[in-house]
């Protein structure tokens, strides 16, 4: 790669590459949280689920030699944590936000404790699909090395969008989220619907975690998530509980995460802390522009404890 510099083109390329590489955990966690919140419950514990998913995926991949088994284990771990959240929340007068915070601490703490022996070993990683075969430029090829999980996540967003609108399950979840009384009147158990929705959300968040440890950055350590789970939960509100908007928001956050390092690499060195903060400034700006004291957020499920 002797004459491999591509100058300023690095920045858009890095933002594109970052959008593909960094966005996947955001995408999975926010789609999962979207399902949970549409059923009328908030699970803030997904940060813990993400970290537990990352740890268990790495551990299982290391022990079994199969990264896909690791992804599956991460999903199961996430679903179990989701079941724990839903189980506790189904008790009378339990606040789902408080339980979520407790599970966030529990998940990260447990993952750090169990993950101690996994920091040094190298586990088999998930393979990448080379979409850059048409290009001779190594930078383009590197940016377009895409993992299957990213493609699954991208496909999942329109599927969920469609499912919420037209399938029986989608309608049931929305009914539980908009009016628990209506769901009960129809003879459905709201608690059961929410249990399933929270488990599904946990399953997806766990898989998001497996992407962190098995693909990018691609190893287990305790700083791995550094708040991405919480950011993704906030993304759902940012995306107005719409799976398609979750996809765009995740891509934007992924691309923004690459902006700071990429600008430094081409020589824009001042204010890198500001560039690192870019996605959060964007969130704040959109929140301020779209909020109104006269009505609740458009698209918010009516049963959510934050909007009620």
């Amino acid at each position: 790669m002797a004459d491999a510099s591509i100058g300023l083109w690095t920045v858009p390329l890095a933002v594109l590459g970052g959008a593909i590489r960094v966005s996947t955990p955001f995408l999975f966690v926010s789609l999962g949280e979207c399902i949970t919140e549409r059923s009328g419950r908030i699970n803030l514990g997904l940060e813990g689920t993400l970290v537990m998913g990352a740890m268990s995926a790495y551990g299982i991949s290391y022990l079994s030699g199969s990264p896909w088994l690791g992804v599956f284990a991460a999903g199961i771990t996430g679903a179990l944590l989701g079941a724990l959240h839903a189980g506790i929340c189904s008790l009378p007068r339990v606040n789902d936000v408080a339980v979520g915070i407790a599970l966030m601490l529990f998940g990260t703490g447990l993952a750090f404790y169990l993950g101690k022996p996994l920091i040094e070993p190298t586990a088999p990683r998930l393979p990448a699909i080379d979409f850059g075969w048409w290009s001779d430029i190594p930078q383009v090829r590197a940016a377009l090395r895409v993992n299957v999980l990213f493609l699954i996540g991208v496909a999942l967003a329109p599927i969920l969008y469609w499912a919420f609108r037209t399938t029986r399950w989608g309608l049931l979840i929305r009914t539980a989220g908009e009016s628990a009384d209506a769901a009960r009147a129809m003879g459905h158990s709201v608690l059961l619907i929410r249990l399933r929705a929270t488990m599904a959300g946990g399953f997806l968040a766990g898989i998001g975690g497996s992407f962190l440890s098995l693909f990018y950055p691609g190893s287990w350590n305790e700083g791995l998530s550094s708040g991405q789970g919480i950011t993704a939960v906030a993304l759902v509100i940012f995306a107005r509980w719409d799976p398609l908007l979750c996809l765009w928001a995740s891509l934007a956050f992924g691309g923004a995460a690459a902006l700071g390092p990429a600008l430094q690499s081409v020589g824009v060195t001042s204010g890198y802390h500001l560039f690192n903060a870019a996605p959060y400034i964007l969130t704040l700006a959109i929140m301020i522009i779209t909020c109104s004291p006269k009505r609740t957020l458009t698209g918010a499920p009516a049963e959510l404890s934050i909007t009620r």
Partner: protein, 370 residues
Amino acid sequence: MDFGRISRRHLLQGGAALTIGAAAGVRPALAAETTIGFIYVGSRDDYGYNQAHAQGAAALKKIPGLKVVEEEKVPETDAVEKTIESMINLDGATLLFPTSFGYYNPHMVKMASKYPKLRFEHCGGLWTDKDPKNAGSYFGYIDEAQYVSGVVAGLTSKSSKLGFVAAKPIPQVLRNINAFTLGAKSVNPKATTQVIFTGDWSMPVKEAEATNSLIDQGVDVLTCHVDGPKTMVENAVRRGAMVCGYHTNQSALAPKAYLTGAEWNWEALYPKFVKMITAGEEIPNFYRGGLKEEIVKISPYGEAVSAEARKAADEAKAKFLSADGFAVFKGGLVDNKGKTVIAAGTDRGQKDPELEKMDYLVEGVIGATS
């Protein structure tokens, strides 16, 4: 990112780790003669800074008659005072090693005044005459090892473009970046080092992005100064670049691409300290040293290092080991904005306190401190 919330969470995790540690039986054995306490700011298996200290602690465990107690993830707040108190009062520790920079003042200084008969050894602090006599600070000039890494990197790189993934622009980090660059330029005048700051000590996603961006710019040898170099090493190797390690030996992660690395050598220093105490000698309160004093070391060269690079690196190392030593930062030094930072004729030796205030990047570094 909401750093306030994260640090509070880490605090709680630290508390949880403490409880688990206590339950798992990190309790005093009364039969032991001397108990030594080690306190780490992060996880002791981080494959980096804290692990290097833990390896030093492990070397002490092998010495008969010594008992080592450890606690990890202790934040740089008054939490460390509580840890020190419990190590003294519950475990009977008489020698303490709080190993993180922020523990020193006021926390460790306060504890040293409270327990004047016990010995406190801090890593990285600046001991002055005003501090208690039973407190000491030690540190290694790891920039000497970075200089040697730079020599190897400068002769191995095909593009003469080197990369440095750094956490924050503080003096210790800048010193490493500059020494690495000067080492590379001493053998390859065309060499440049591009630096990217991630903003914090452990940001795996940012470190991976920085690594990829550097390689996109044509960099083909990378090193770093973050808490855990594993992310940088693995991501660089995936892109086909070479790496120099930091803190500990990471060659197991990339046997083919690992050139060499700047490592701490606490497993040599800590037993030395214990020997000095048992012999009744005083450990100097301000203890510093580099390659010659065996406080830092260089990873064995990897298979990708040419015979020419090995020879040049060995020569550089020999200069550091010679009786007169070797000053990395010598007069006539210009920073990357064209300003002369060390006037011609002045040599700043390793112990020069001016170097501990470094706030510039030397000529040949691409990047800025702010």
